[in-house]
Amino acid sequence: MQTKREEINRMVQDVKSLPALPGIVVKLRALAESDAASLQIIARLISSDQILSAKVLKLVNSPFYGFPGRVSTVSNALILLGVNVVKALVLSSSIFDLMEENVVGLWEHSLGAGVAANIITKRLALPDGEEISTAALLHDIGKVIIKIKLKEEAERIRLKVDGGEVSIREAEKEVLDVDHAEIGGWLGKTWCLPEKLIEPIACHHDPVRSVTYADRTAVVHLSDILIKASGFGYSGDDLVPRIQEAAWKKLNLSDHVLREIVDEIEDKLIEVKNFSLEIQSSHEGKV
């Protein structure tokens, strides 16, 4: 008999069962995998879909990437962020739309984590900061899948969290036999995202399991915890998880630097809140 865990894994592997992704995504996936495809060809493809271009540019210009100037073209977004990041943003845009409209607290938590990751990577002078921010932005994407595809189980998880001192992750494991981080990793594989995005998503609660991209995973782990500590947004429970010792050692931050990082994040979160309010009012305008 199929276990719940296997059932969910099969569901996530079946792209057709997920919210409809734009047809352009299939073409983009093929292009991004081809070495011959130039940035211009990929940019032209995305630009041919105005709604998709707008979504990509909206995220690129959101406070969490923190570019000093406004990124006004998809070509510039590709140059600044790289194909992998833009591909991940395009692939996740449909699901992210649902998050914006239906799970505002989680959307804010995710944006906040993206901001935190951006600030931490700059402090540590880690390369590929934008990719790490994107992994942080998408780290809880598994929760969105649970919310929209497993409605009855999501309600049971919520009741467990509300009823006692149980974290959402513990409740997910009890109800589903798998947590959102692992589901997010499965989704990343279904979408053919690069491993450097998948591993931080799948291991953000247990960074010691992250072998190839341990630095990136440690940043996403800490970003998630700092945003929960800040109380910004709502990721399904109000418990701050423990920072894993291995991740803390990997980042090698002093208390002084951590204090500066927290101050910088908290100041930036004011802008993120404004951005989120703008998005929400634009959704209300549509109704």
Binding site: R70, E165, V240, W248, V262, I270
Partner: protein, 111 residues
Amino acid sequence: MQNIPLILAAPGMTLAKAVMRPDSESRMPICGAGTALTELLIERLDQMGIASVLVEGHPVLIEGEKTPEAEIKALDHRFRQVCEDPLMIRLKEIYKDRLIRLSEEWHANEA
């Protein structure tokens, strides 16, 4: 520092962060941090479509906004399962110190 809707901005408040043109691709600044707001400037910002500004201190009490004391209580509550862990204690202190600073700004404005 407090983020306030422009409608609550008043002459004499000081900008804590530069205000940028919302319609410009290059995000040109309209006025810099440290600028004192005047009636004329607030009117101009309104005409340019600026919805909110970051000002120094905590000059406005917004409905539904938690006081720093309530925020500190909520912080303790969020950390309740990790309050024995030395690293998490240090992290909580960082957030608490910040809230205490905000509390001082808040009450200085009350006085």
